[in-house]
C-alpha cells in the first residue's frame, strides 16, 4: 500500500529512482512522500534555495569504477576507508587500527539492534538519504581504544549528475579517544548531489574529534547532516572547512544527553564565484553542567553567499550551562553576501550564554602597517585573511590535514599560508 505523493516537485525528483523493496527503506519511502522541498518561507531555509537541486535530473549509480591511483592525491592518513557514491570500497580501503571495526550493512539487514535505525525522518534530505542509501557504514571504536592517528573517511562522488547518499554511523564506546577526518571529493561529477548523513554516538567519557574537509568541485551540491548524541563526561569536537562546492549546506545537530560534556563546533568557509555555503548548527542542552563553544568564520569573495545559523537551546532545569557562539565574517567583494543568525533559546536561569556576530572588512591600519614594511597591498590583504581563517585551521588535529587544507587554499584561492 502506497499513499499518494504530497508534492509534485518531489514526485518528479524521485521518479527516476526505484522504489525500495526492503522493509526499512519502504518505511522510509512512505515517510518521504509526505514531505516536500523546503522553500525560503521555511525559517531554516530562509536564505538557501534548493530549486537547483529540485530541478536536477539525477541518477543513482550502483556500479563502482574508481581506482587506487586516482585517489592517491586525496589521502592524508595511513588508515582510510573509501566510499564511492555511498558504497564501501573494501578493495581501496586500508584499516588496521586495534579496536576499530568497520561493518557494512545492507538496508535489508537493518534491525532493531542496528544503531541509528529510525526510518522516519522529518527533514526532506535526511528522509531522502534513509530511502535511497545503498549501504550503512558502521564504524565502531571499542572501549578504551586510543587512536593516535585519525582514520580518514574519503567520501567520493563520481560521475555526472549522480545522486549519492552516504550513510555513516560512528559509534565510540566508553573511555575511547577517537579521531576522524572526512574528506569530501567530487571526481568528474558535474551537477552531482552528495547527500550525506553521519551519526555519532559518543559514550560516557569518550572523546571524539572530527575534521571535515569539503572540497567538492563546483558545480556540485552537497548537503550533509551530522546527528550527534553525547553521553556524560564526553567531549565532541567538529571542525568544518568548506573550500568548494556550488551549494553546500551543513546541518550539525548535537544533543547533549549527559552531564559534564564539552562540545566544540568550529567552521571556516572560504568562498568565491557563485558559491553558496550554509551552516546550520543546533546544540540542545538537555542536562546541567555542560559547556559548548562555537566559532564560525567566513571569507566571501566574488558573488558568493554565506549563511550562518547557530542555535543553542538550554532546556528548563539544565542549569549551569556555559554556551558561547561566535561568528565573524569578511566580505571581500561588492557582490558577496552574508546572512547571519545566531540564536539563543534559554529556559534555565543559572546559565552563562552569549553570542557575537561581526561583519566587516580588513583593518585598514593593519594593511597599512604591512605596506609600510614593504609588503604589497595585495599580499598584505591575503596575509590578513589567512590569519583570520588561521584561528579555525589551527583547530584541525592532524598536521597532514592542515597541510592539505593550506594546499587547497593556495591552489584554488591563491592564498599564501
Amino acid at each position: 500500500m502506497t499513499t499518494a505523493l504530497v508534492s509534485e516537485k518531489l514526485a518528479a525528483f524521485i521518479a527516476p529512482f526505484e522504489i525500495p523493496s526492503n522493509v526499512f527503506q519502504k518505511e522510509a519511502y512512505d515517510n518521504l512522500i509526505q514531505l516536500d522541498f523546503p522553500t525560503t518561507r521555511n525559517e531554516y531555509w530562509k536564505y538557501t534555495r534548493v530549486g537547483k537541486i529540485q530541478n536536477s535530473k539525477l541518477k543513482i549509480q550502483k556500479e563502482t569504477k574508481l581506482t587506487a591511483d586516482v585517489l592517491k592525491p586525496f589521502l592524508s592518513a595511513a588508515n582510510f576507508i573509501v566510499l564511492e557514491n555511498g558504497i564501501f570500497r573494501a578493495d581501496l580501503s586500508h584499516i588496521s587500527v586495534e579496536g576499530v571495526k568497520v561493518d557494512v550493512i545492507k538496508p535489508a539487514f537493518i534491525s532493531d539492534e542496528t544503531k541509528f535505525n529510525s526510518a522516519s525522518q522529518q527533514h526532506l534530505f535526511t528522509a531522502l538519504n534513509a530511502t535511497y542509501f545503498s549501504e550503512l557504514i558502521s564504524i565502531s571504536v571499542a572501549e578504551k581504544t586510543v587512536m593516535n592517528e585519525a582514520l580518514q573517511l574519503l567520501v567520493v562522488t563520481s560521475g555526472n549528475a549522480v545522486f549519492s547518499n552516504p550513510r555513516i554511523v560512528i559509534d565510540v564506546h566508553k573511555y575511547a579517544d577517537a579521531k576522524f577526518e572526512a574528506s569530501y571529493v567530487a571526481l568528474n561529477a558535474d551537477g552531482a548531489f552528495n547527500n550525506v548523513v553521519t551519526a555519532f554516538f559518543v559514550a560516557e567519557n569518550a572523546h571524539v574529534v572530527y575534521d571535515k574537509i569539503q572540497n567538492e568541485n563546483n558545480p556540485g551540491f552537497h548537503i550533509s547532516t551530522e546527528e550527534v548524541a553525547q553521553e556524560k563526561n564526553s567531549r565532541f569536537k567538529i571542525n568544518t572547512m568548506t573550500l568548494d562546492g556550488a551549494l553546500v549546506r551543513n546541518n550539525i545537530n548535537i544533543s547533549v544527553n549527559g552531564e559534564n560534556c564539552e562540545t566544540h563546533i568550529n567552521g571556516a568557509v572560504i568562498a568565491k564565484e557563485t558559491m553558496h555555503v550554509d551552516n546550520h548548527t543546533f546544540v540542545n542542552h538537555r542536562v546541567p553542567n555542560c559547556f559548548s563553544n562555537e566559532n564560525y568564520k567566513y571569507v566571501l569573495d566574488g558573488k558568493s553567499t554565506g549563511v550562518f545559523n547557530g542555535r543553542v537551546i538550554v532546556q528548563q532545569h539544565a542549569q549551569k550551562i556555559n554556551a558561547y557562539q561566535k561568528n565573524a565574517n569578511i566580505l571581500l567583494s561588492d557582490f558577496a553576501q552574508i546572512n547571519s543568525k545566531p540564536e539563543l533559546e534559554i529556559y534555565a536561569d543559572d546559565v552563562k550564554c552569549s553570542h557575537g556576530s561581526t561583519t566587516g572588512q580588513l583593518d585598514d591600519d593593519a594593511v597599512f602597517y604591512l605596506q609600510a614594511r614593504g609588503i604589497s597591498k595585495e599580499k598584505a590583504k591575503k596575509l590578513l585573511v589567512a590569519a583570520f581563517i588561521g584561528e579555525i585551521t589551527e583547530q584541525i588535529s592532524s598536521d597532514e590535514v592542515k597541510k592539505q587544507v593550506n594546499r587547497i587554499l593556495a591552489e584554488k584561492h591563491d592564498w599564501m599560508l
Binding site: 525559517e43 536564505y47 528548563q316 532545569h317 542549569q319 565574517n329 566580505l331 571581500l332 567583494s333 561588492d334 557582490f335 558577496a336 553576501q337 552574508i338 546572512n339 547571519s340 543568525k341 545566531p342 540564536e343 539563543l344 533559546e345 534559554i346 529556559y347 534555565a348 536561569d349 543559572d350 546559565v351 552563562k352 550564554c353 552569549s354 553570542h355 557575537g356 556576530s357 561581526t358 561583519t359 566587516g360 572588512q361
Partner: protein
C-alpha cells in the same frame, strides 16, 4: 537576613496591578463584529472624506485575504475578531477643560497626569485618548504660534487632509502585515503631529493611551511628520484597567523624518499583563516604523512592562544618506507574560548608522524574546551597526531568547552584534556586600545599572512617569 533574589522574585510575583481601575463614563459603542458595513459606519461616524473611506475599505479587503502571523515566539488564543466592538467613544463632547467630566479628571489624576498640575508645572502638552476619542488637548495655542500641528487624528483629517493624505500609509502600507491591515481598516483615532520646516518643538509632546471600554479593541493610528530641519520629542505612555478577558490592541505608528530632521519617540507601556495565573491581559500587536531621509535621525526608546502578549518591532528605514536609527528598549516580563520584541534597521542610504540596545528581564514563568533584523543593502556604503541585547533571568521557570537576523550585502559595512544571557552574578552581589551594601541594595543597584543605558535615554519629564509605571516590576529593584 538581607533581601535575596528569591524574595525579589516573590515580590514581583505577588504584586498586583496597581493601575487596575475602571472609570464609569457613559460611552457609545458599536455592536460586536467586523464587516464592510462596520468599516463604513466608523468612517461615517467620524465624518471622513471619501479618500479615507476608500483607504479603509481597501485595507479591509487586504486584511480579509491575510492570515495571522505565527512566527513569533509566543502562544496565545487567537483573538476572535468577530467578537470585538470596533468603535467606542465617550458620549459627551467637551468644549473646554472645565466641561470635562469630573470622573474622567479623577481617572487622569490616578494616572498622575492631572491637567491642572501639568499646565502649571511641566510644560507638557497632552493629547489624552480615553478609548478612541481625544477629550482634551492642552498647550495648543503655544504650539500654534510655531505652526506646530498636534491634534487628534480625526481632527487632522478634517483640518489638514492634504498632510494626512500625503503621509498616511507611506511608511506602513496596509499590505504590510495582518494587524497593520486591520488597523488601517478600522482605526478609530490617534494622534497627528506635524513640525514645520526648521522648527524645534520647545516641549515634549505626550499622548496617553488608555483602553477603557470593556470588550473594545483599541486601534490607534499615530502619524508624526518632522519637516526638514525640525526636531520633536514625542512621548507615548499607556496604562489599562484590570480586565478578565483578553483585549486586543493593534496600533500603527508612522514616523517620517524629512531631511535633517530628528524625531525622538519614547514609550512606556504598562497595560494589564494578566493576573498571576496568566488569566486576562492585553494583546499588544503593534507596528511601529520610521522613515529617515537624508541626514535625519529617528530614535525609539521603550520601556515595556505590561501586556499579556507583546509583538512589537519599532523599526527604522534608513533611506537617506547619513541617516541614523536608534533603538533603546527595556522589556520586563513576569508571571505568564510573553514578549517578542525587537527592531528592524534597514540600511539603504550611504553612511547610515544604527544602534540597538535591548535589555530583557524575565521573571516568573514568562518568555521574553528579542528578535531583530539588521539589513544592509548593496548600495549602503559604509553602513555601521552596533547591536547589544542582554537578558537577565530572575527565575528558573522563565525563558530568555535572542533571534537576531543579520543580512549584509555590502562589503564596506561594519556590523557588530553581541548578546548575553545570565542571572545576576553571585560574585557581583558578593562584591557589593563585601563593601557594606546590603543584598537588597546590591540587587537593585545591579538591575538599575543594567537598565540605565536605556532609562537614561528617556526624556526627563517622562523618566519620572516611567519610574511610576515601572513600579510593578522594578519598584523593588530600583532602590
Amino acid at each position: 537576613m538581607g533581601y535575596t533574589e528569591e524574595e525579589l522574585a516573590n515580590d514581583l510575583n505577588n504584586k498586583e496591578y496597581e493601575f487596575g481601575f475602571t472609570s464609569n463614563i457613559e460611552s457609545e459603542k458599536f455592536p460586536v463584529g467586523l464587516s464592510e458595513e462596520v468599516v463604513r459606519k466608523i468612517s461615517a461616524k467620524k465624518n471622513e472624506p471619501d479618500w479615507l473611506l476608500e483607504y479603509r475599505l481597501n485595507a479591509f479587503k487586504i486584511w480579509q485575504q491575510m492570515t495571522e502571523p505565527k512566527w513569533a515566539h509566543v502562544t496565545y488564543p487567537k483573538p476572535k475578531f468577530q467578537e470585538i466592538s470596533y468603535y467606542a467613544a465617550p458620549k459627551k463632547k467637551y468644549e473646554s477643560w472645565d466641561d470635562v467630566d469630573p470622573e474622567m479628571k479623577a481617572t487622569m489624576d490616578k494616572l498622575g497626569i492631572s491637567m491642572e498640575e501639568q499646565k502649571k508645572l511641566t510644560g507638557v502638552a497632552v493629547d489624552f485618548v480615553m478609548d478612541s476619542v481625544s477629550v482634551a488637548t492642552s498647550f495648543k495655542e503655544k504650539l500654534g504660534e510655531l505652526n506646530i500641528i498636534f491634534c487628534s487624528f480625526s481632527e487632522a483629517v478634517q483640518h489638514h487632509p492634504e498632510l494626512v493624505k500625503k503621509y498616511l500609509g507611506s511608511v506602513v502600507p496596509s499590505t504590510d502585515n495582518f494587524y497593520a491591515a486591520l488597523n488601517s481598516a478600522v482605526f478609530s483615532d490617534g494622534s497627528f503631529c506635524y513640525i514645520p520646516k526648521g522648527v524645534r518643538c520647545p516641549m515634549e509632546l505626550s499622548t496617553y493611551f488608555r483602553i477603557n471600554e470593556s470588550g473594545t479593541g483599541q486601534f490607534e493610528r499615530t502619524l508624526v511628520v518632522a519637516d526638514e530641519g525640525s526636531y520633536v520629542s514625542y512621548l507615548e505612555g499607556c496604562t489599562a484597567p484590570q480586565r478578565d478577558e483578553n483585549q486586543l490592541h493593534a496600533a500603527v505608528v508612522e514616523l517620517i523624518a524629512l531631511d535633517n530632521a530628528e524625531i525622538k519617540y519614547s514609550t512606556v507601556q504598562n497595560w494589564f499583563p494578566g493576573d498571576k495565573e496568566g488569566k486576562g491581559g492585553v494583546f499588544n500587536f503593534v507596528t511601529k516604523r520610521g522613515m529617515c531621509n537624508t541626514n535625519s535621525k529617528i530614535s525609539w526608546t521603550q520601556v515595556e512592562t505590561g501586556s499579556a502578549v507583546t509583538w512589537k518591532y519599532p523599526s527604522c528605514i534608513l533611506k537617506g544618506d547619513n541617516s541614523v536609527g536608534e533603538f533603546y528598549s527595556v522589556a520586563v516580563t513576569n508571571n505568564y507574560q510573553q514578549a517578542d520584541t525587537g527592531t528592524k534597521m534597514i540600511h539603504l542610504g550611504k553612511n547610515t548608522k544604527s544602534t540597538v540596545i535591548s535589555k530583557g528581564i524575565s521573571a516568573g514563568k514568562s518568555q521574553n524574546s528579542y528578535r531583530g533584523l539588521v539589513q544592509i543593502s548593496n548600495r549602503a556604503e559604509n553602513a555601521r551597526n552596533f547591536t547589544q541585547c542582554d537578558s537577565l533571568l530572575m527565575s528558573d521557570e522563565c525563558g530568555a531568547h535572542t533571534f537576531p537576523y543579520i543580512e549584509c550585502n555590502n562589503k564596506s559595512a561594519r556590523l557588530e552584534h553581541e548578546a548575553t544571557t545570565s542571572k545576576i552574578g553571585e560574585d557581583q552581589i558578593f562584591y557589593c556586600q563585601q563593601r557594606g551594601i546590603s543584598e537588597e541594595k546590591a540587587i537593585s543597584l545591579i538591575v538599575n545599572g543594567y537598565c540605565k543605558e536605556v532609562l537614561n535615554k528617556l526624556p526627563m519629564e517622562f523618566a519620572v512617569e516611567a519610574q511610576k509605571l515601572l513600579a510593578i516590576s522594578l519598584e523593588n529593584s530600583v532602590g
